[in-house]
């Protein structure tokens, strides 16, 4: 019965004008979004590769004092993920460059949104925009009259008289609208699968992420189709059904995601970058607990080192004490930074948790979080890269400070001591791998649950609340 209804639904939908108008518009948007996304991806990828190569060349070709080299530093670039082509998430807003320099712990910088123009002011057309906003709208146009029209045309009564139940009708309509949507969206889904696979490094195609993203969107569309068909079943006219569905779209897709982001931000406000940096500077100068300032720490290190070597003055040490002292400062700065960053990270995680719970009220919020999570363009991946970059930075500066402290000749030459190409070449380069997807799943357990809860509510509604009221027909 359901199969007959869905087959008829697909046939009648495909014979209407709406799917072809929607297909035309969809393909136009997909082409524009894909082209824009691909050129932007190639540009940033190219920029990063060229800059990385330039900084590496400059780094190995220098002949410099290790500490001067530490000040010269380098830059680390967050690699573009293959799925960034589909969902850029927060990557344009959170920065993609990490500065490595002695005495400074930097945040990520150079966010594209800060450097670009109108596309960011007016909203960029991305494949994620189409997947999250346009496709649901398309489902509304395909399904708003699915059942209300049967009421208006009195075919509902004939269907009932033929022996079909309301539940069978609703399920048939739901599958019909859903499968028609999938049919229309095949090119979009092919891009979602093929494009990241083509641009990912050979042998490193994120199939699990691609598959998970596709499965999540397919489930999300099933929910939307279910909601639209259910609204159509409840409304007495197609006009009312369209109005309610469109209002639902505005509320779920446009208003609530922004409202929830605002609520999460207000509930767990982040300190400004200035306040954050001032806190770090103060804690570094006065000590984390306020009892051991920079001078006291320096004195303590001096005493400890002299005791270790059994000497009475720094001049008599067999090493360059400046190197040790600078590393001690770096260690403390790193500790201070981690302490403050942990607080901020805690706040961001609170915000994410809150958004996860709010996703229970809006599946669009949940799919947005998941989508950028799969794409590796969310806060989790940003934070993961930043953490790895900082680790690398700390090891990098440590290696230079240790060279300053223990290298033969450094004690005598102090800042005149220089190292060349053979030293810098030996320093390890920065390699970055995305975290395993299971980490993402555990971070996004709430949005996953939110989608499942919506699925359960939909099934329960269709199971126990699908009796259409003939009185109103």
């Amino acid at each position: 019965m359901v199969k007959n209804i869905l087959k008829k639904e697909i046939k009648t939908l495909l014979r209407g004008k709406a799917p072809y108008l929607l297909v035309g518009l969809l393909y136009l948007l997909v082409i524009a979004a894909f082209w824009g996304g691909y050129t932007s991806y190639k540009k940033t990828q190219g920029d990063k590769q060229r800059s990385t190569q330039k900084f590496e060349e400059e780094w190995v070709s220098q002949e410099a004092n290790p500490h001067s080299a530490a000040h010269f530093g380098t830059y680390l670039f967050k690699p573009n993920t293959a799925l960034e082509l589909i969902d850029k998430g927060l990557s344009d807003y959170m920065g993609n460059t990490y500065r490595v320099e002695a005495h400074h712990q930097y945040e990520m910088n150079y966010a594209a949104a800060r450097d670009n123009g109108s596309e960011f002011r007016f909203g960029e057309l991305t494949l994620a925009f189409i997947l999250q906003l346009f496709v649901p709208l398309m489902i509304i146009f395909l399904g708003f009259s699915s059942i209300s029209k049967e009421k208006e045309n009195s075919t509902l009564k004939i269907i009932w008289a033929q022996g079909a139940t309301s539940r069978q009708l609703i399920w048939g309509k739901l599958w019909g609208v859903y499968l028609t949507t999938l049919l229309i969206c095949i090119p979009l889904f092919l891009i979602l699968i093929i494009a990241p696979a083509l641009i990912a490094p050979t042998g490193n195609v994120p199939w699990l992420r691609i598959g998970s993203m596709l499965a999540s969107y397919l489930f999300f569309y099933f929910l939307i189709a279910g909601i639209v068909v259910w609204v159509s079943a409840r409304m007495s006219s197609s006009k009312a059904s369209l109005q309610v569905s469109l209002w639902g779209w505005v509320i779920l897709c446009v208003l609530l995601p922004r409202l929830f982001a605002g609520i999460a931000d207000s509930a767990h406000p982040l300190p400004s970058r200035n306040t954050f940096n001032e806190g770090i500077d103060r804690a570094y100068a006065e000590g984390l607990d306020g009892n051991q300032g920079r001078k006291e720490r320096s004195e303590a290190l001096k005493k400890e080192t002299l005791a270790k070597y059994g000497k009475d003055s720094i001049e008599n040490l067999p090493i360059n004490f400046d190197g040790l002292s600078m590393q001690s400062g770096e260690d403390y700065l790193s500790k201070v930074y981690d302490t403050y960053a942990k607080e901020v990270q805690g706040l961001i995680e609170e915000q994410n948790t809150m958004l996860g719970y709010l996703g229970l009220l809006d599946p669009v919020v949940a799919i947005r979080q998941l989508s950028m999570g799969y794409a590796g363009t969310d806060y989790l991946h940003h934070s993961h890269f930043h953490h790895r970059a900082k680790q690398y930075r700390d090891d990098f500066i440590r290696a230079l400070n240790m060279e300053m402290a223990y290298a033969e000749g450094s004690r005598e030459l102090k800042y005149e001591y220089k190292v060349g190409n053979d030293f810098f070449e030996k320093m390890e380069g920065f390699e970055y791998q995305l975290p395993p997807i299971r980490q993402m799943y555990s971070f996004y357990i709430l949005p996953i649950c939110a989608l499942l809860v919506w699925g359960f509510i939909l099934f329960a509604t269709l199971r126990w609340g699908s009796n259409l009221k003939p009185d109103s027909v």
Binding site: G16, I158, Q162
Partner: protein
């Protein structure tokens, strides 16, 4: 046999059908006449099991009909006032779809035979229903009822909006159905057509069946007078 036994429908305290007792035998064409709000459509909705009776019972061939008992509907077919069906499907496709819903799978030739039985021309079989006249769509509605092999066909003002030629063809089709042994209950405003097509006529007013007459016993002008008097009092 189609039966209503003390069939009553109330919405809150408003009685829209009051203890209706009715038997429509096999081969009978029973026409319910009455003004808007007389309870004709409610009667049809109750007899089709679309709505739950407040009290009393509807039966078809002795089987109880209610929204919860879908099984009895296999004996029933329905033709609404406006048979729109699916405008972008052909009559063959419409008939095939509704037959499948009723659990029948016909070959194309069988479907064409059924459409032929109701007087549709073969060249129309493959045309989309959106291009059909109301009369032609009404014929497809009857074809759907025929294809279901239902014992009883319930029609809600089926001649409303049809041109005289279409009414004439429809009347002839309904008579044929009666002669084939189908039980037919039809709600109508059309007194003259009721006399022409039916074997019995009921006049309803404010949820009550006021008169039940054999068509043999009354002619159209007499029926019209009775109808006017009933609605005047």
């Amino acid at each position: 046999m189609l039966q209503a036994i003390d069939l009553t429908k109330k919405y809150n305290n408003n009685i829209v059908l009051n203890k209706l007792n009715l038997n429509v035998e096999k081969g009978e064409v029973f026409c319910l006449l009455g003004q808007n709000g007389a309870g004709k459509t409610t009667t049809i909705n109750l007899l089709l099991g679309f709505i739950q009776a407040s009290s009393g019972e509807a039966r078809i061939n002795g089987e109880s009909i209610s929204p919860k008992k879908n099984k009895a509907r296999k004996h029933l077919a329905y033709i609404p006032e406006v048979v729109t069906l699916y405008g972008n499907l052909s009559s063959l496709e419409n008939l095939d779809f509704f037959s499948r819903l009723a659990g029948f799978r016909y070959s194309k030739a069988e479907l064409e035979t059924i459409l032929g039985q109701v007087g549709l021309q073969p060249e129309a079989f493959h045309k989309q229903l959106g291009n059909y006249s109301k009369g032609m769509r009404q014929k497809v509605g009857i074809a759907i009822a025929l294809a279901k092999k239902a014992d009883a066909i319930l029609m809600d003002e089926p001649t409303s909006g049809l041109d005289p030629k279409a009414i004439n063809e429809f009347t002839s089709l309904v008579k044929d159905l009666g002669q084939q042994g189908k039980t037919i209950l039809m709600a109508s405003h059309d007194i003259f057509n009721a006399v022409e097509v039916s074997t019995r006529i009921g006049i309803m007013r404010k949820g009550n069946l006021i008169h039940s007459l054999n068509t043999m016993d009354i002619n159209a002008p007499e029926l019209q007078q009775l109808y006017m008097d009933t609605n005047k009092s």
